[in-house]
């Protein structure tokens, strides 16, 4: 019988924003929780993120944005995943994101948005509860 694969998560920083404290902390919390983690590093275009996510066969992409360009960048990632028929990859977001934008992002296919102050364990729990690792 095949061993069930671990959850594989990509933490990604789209756009030009350099605030990576949150993204790096989340990446570490995921690693400590036993997930496989791919961290893209900074300044990725939506195209680069989607391509890497498909290549790495991840179950989820966590996008982080703190400079106000989340609407454009997060939705570009969702859109590209759809185009590439890879929209089984769940997209989540985090960062400085106003409530109204969270609503719009969720309506457009972003599964969850975590704002500052959310405990790491809550985020990890959410992932464990909502993400099923794909079979290899």
């Amino acid at each position: 019988m095949k061993q069930k694969r671990r959850v594989r998560v990509m933490v990604a920083k789209p756009g030009l924003d350099g605030h990576d404290r949150g993204a790096r902390i989340i990446a570490r919390a995921y690693r400590d929780a036993g997930f496989e983690v791919v961290y893209t590093g900074l300044h990725q275009t939506p195209e680069e993120i989607v391509e890497a996510a498909i290549q790495e066969d991840v179950d989820m992409i966590g996008l982080s944005s703190l400079a106000g360009a989340h609407k454009y960048l997060f939705l570009a990632v969702v859109e590209l995943l759809r185009e590439k028929a890879a929209d089984d990859i769940v997209v989540c977001g985090g960062g400085i994101i106003p409530d109204d934008d969270i609503k719009r992002l969720k309506e457009s296919g972003v599964k969850e948005v975590f704002t500052p102050g959310t405990p790491l364990d809550d985020i990890v729990k959410w992932v464990k509860h909502n993400i099923t690792p794909r079979q290899d």
Partner: protein, 561 residues
């Protein structure tokens, strides 16, 4: 030689302290202390009490002394706030150059005494508003500057020969500065009278803020060009603002902020000396930029220690003779990372306490964050409250009546000594690695900061550290404040404006200017004059940055976590 106490007195104090501690142990035996361990926000352990015995090795004349006297523990100027208050300098930038110009006029009218410019992400990263990579980011977290035309709109009607301007920009700092000088000269203002600051500190970008373009070595070469040019041509300009702020925001401890910032300062000084400049010609124009975080006394100790350490480094290590080279002059900003989206009005109180610490620490200028800065660019109302916070501290509280009011506090002095000693140990470690450039290549400061940031987040999650309104005293709420939105239309308007400049300018002249910039980059000629010529010919910011990227290559984030 300690002034007041002799050995016998210290013995008595230590005996008294021992007795007091033992009595207290009995009391806490019945009902324990509030915490098993008392520590600062940076997790530095703090004693129950401090006595003269904790500062027994301190020598008043050599270690504390008077403001304006070496080693400047109590302040760089003799008069400090008895002469004039710190400069109230609010960081502002939003949308178009015209929008930001309006905000500048408002702040000046409300009593602000210096300007400070926030640029948008494309500008900070060396892209014009029409670049594909700029999509969605134009004017979002600062002002978009593509050409000299934007720079002229930004400072329209502001007396730049009288007011000083700080510009928070790094990889394209040389270009933005060249545009500012070009603008001044077009107005008939001599570059020699211009006063202000460009942040221009790339080392902390690799360490913490992550706004980078070219690799570290050529990045520092461009900085040294600006240092050399400033020394000779724009003598009132601060050519580098050596910044701990972003190191702290990235999650470092107060100690790491102190040590890494001074180590960056050492690296810039060494490079300028290697170029053949005399330390006393350029060091007086280095300025610093620190964070003022939540832990009140630790922040004050950090700032006092920083001043004393820099004086020792400049005088001892670099043999600077001009007292102005020994001065650590600094700007402070309250800690953006401590603001909470939850119960946002609490941020006014956090900011007030942090501002107070910066002032007790003897800052030369101060930005106070607005209560809504955690959510978006501040509204006018929120920015005004933040400025009023400084005015209340300055003109109502009386704390600025005497200089260095906490000097002589056993606790603050002991903490100042302790932080100095530990920070010098870290600097030694960096020296042993071959200096800050090598340490960055080895990811040393980056990893240290990542570890501290994670440790602190875990402490918050475990409720070992309190964040009011977040992990304690939380309530269900709708965020009650109004949030400033940047008009989505701005992007297309800005692109249109830049395209208009591009079609109307003399493109032959543009090509010649860019060639000269390229020659300076690959050769040894100072880059600044070619950049000023390029600015005057309406060459765009990105056109110059593309030359930098072509000649020097691009730096990729190693993605440490």
């Amino acid at each position: 030689m300690p002034l007041t106490f002799n050995a016998k007195i210290f013995d008595d104090i230590e005996k008294g302290n021992k007795k007091w501690q033992e009595n207290l142990d009995k009391v806490f035996g019945a009902k324990p202390e509030r915490l098993t361990r008392f520590s600062t926000v940076s997790d530095r352990e703090i004693n129950r009490i401090y006595t003269p015995a904790d500062v027994r090795d301190q020598d008043f004349a050599a270690d504390i002394g008077f403001p304006g006297d070496y080693p400047f523990t109590r302040g760089v100027q003799p008069s400090m706030y008895r002469g004039r208050f710190w400069t109230m300098r609010m960081f502002a930038g939003l949308g178009s150059a015209k929008d930001t110009n309006k905000r500048f006029h408002l702040l000046v009218k409300e009593g602000q005494t210096g300007l400070s410019t926030a640029f948008d992400m494309p500008t900070l990263m060396g892209y014009d508003s029409d670049a594909p990579k700029a999509r969605g980011e134009c004017g979002k977290c600062g002002v978009a500057i593509d050409t000299l035309n934007d720079m002229e709109d930004l400072f329209e009607g502001l007396p730049i020969d009288k007011i000083t301007t700080s510009m928070t920009i790094n990889p394209p700092a040389s270009i933005i500065w060249a545009m500012y000088i070009a603008m001044a000269e077009k107005r008939g203002i001599d570059r020699k009278v211009l006063g202000g600051t460009i942040q221009n500190d790339m080392l902390k970008e690799f360490i913490a803020q992550k706004t980078f373009m070219c690799p570290p070595v050529p990045s520092v070469r461009i900085i040294e060009d600006t240092v050399e040019f400033g020394t000779k041509e724009v003598p009132r300009w601060n050519t580098i603002s050596i910044s701990g702020y972003h190191i702290r925001e990235a999650g470092s401890t107060a100690l790491q902020e102190l040590a890494f910032t001074l180590a960056d300062g050492i690296a810039y000084t060494e490079k300028a000396i290697e170029r053949g400049l005399d330390v006393d010609d350029f060091a007086p124009r280095f300025s610093f930029f620190f964070n003022s975080h939540l832990d009140f006394f630790e922040e004050i100790a950090k700032l006092r220690a920083a001043r004393r350490m820099w004086a020792k480094i400049m005088k001892g290590r670099f043999k600077a003779k001009d007292p102005r080279s020994w001065w650590l002059r600094f700007h402070t900003q309250t800690a953006g990372c401590t603001l909470t989206a939850q119960q946002p009005y609490n941020n006014v109180v956090r900011t007030a306490l942090q501002a107070l610490a910066a002032i007790m620490g003897g800052t030369q200028s101060l930005h106070t964050n607005s209560l809504d800065e955690v959510l978006a660019i501040p509204t006018e109302e929120a920015a005004t409250i933040a400025l009023r916070t400084q005015q209340i501290i300055a003109e109502e509280s009386g704390v600025a009546n005497t200089i260095d009011p906490l000097g002589g506090s056993y606790f603050v002095e002991a903490l100042t000594d302790q932080m100095e000693e530990e920070a010098f140990d870290i600097i030694q470690k960096i020296d042993d690695m071959g200096g800050m450039l090598s340490a960055i290549e080895k990811n040393f400061p980056q990893q240290e900061i990542a570890d501290s940031a994670y440790h602190y987040q875990r402490q918050i999650d475990e409720k070992e550290k309190t964040v009011v309104g977040v992990n304690k005293y939380a309530v269900e709420e709708e965020i009650p404040v109004e949030v400033l939105e940047i008009d989505e239309e701005l992007e297309s308007l800005q692109i249109e404006k830049t395209n208009r400049v591009k079609t109307e300018r003399d493109n032959q002249r543009v090509a010649e200017c860019l060639e000269k910039v390229g020659d300076a980059c690959s050769g040894k000629q100072n880059i600044m004059e070619p950049l000023i010529d390029a600015a005057k010919a309406n060459v765009t910011l990105q056109e110059v940055c593309d030359v930098y990227r072509k000649v020097y290559g691009e730096y990729r984030d190693p993605g440490i976590y």
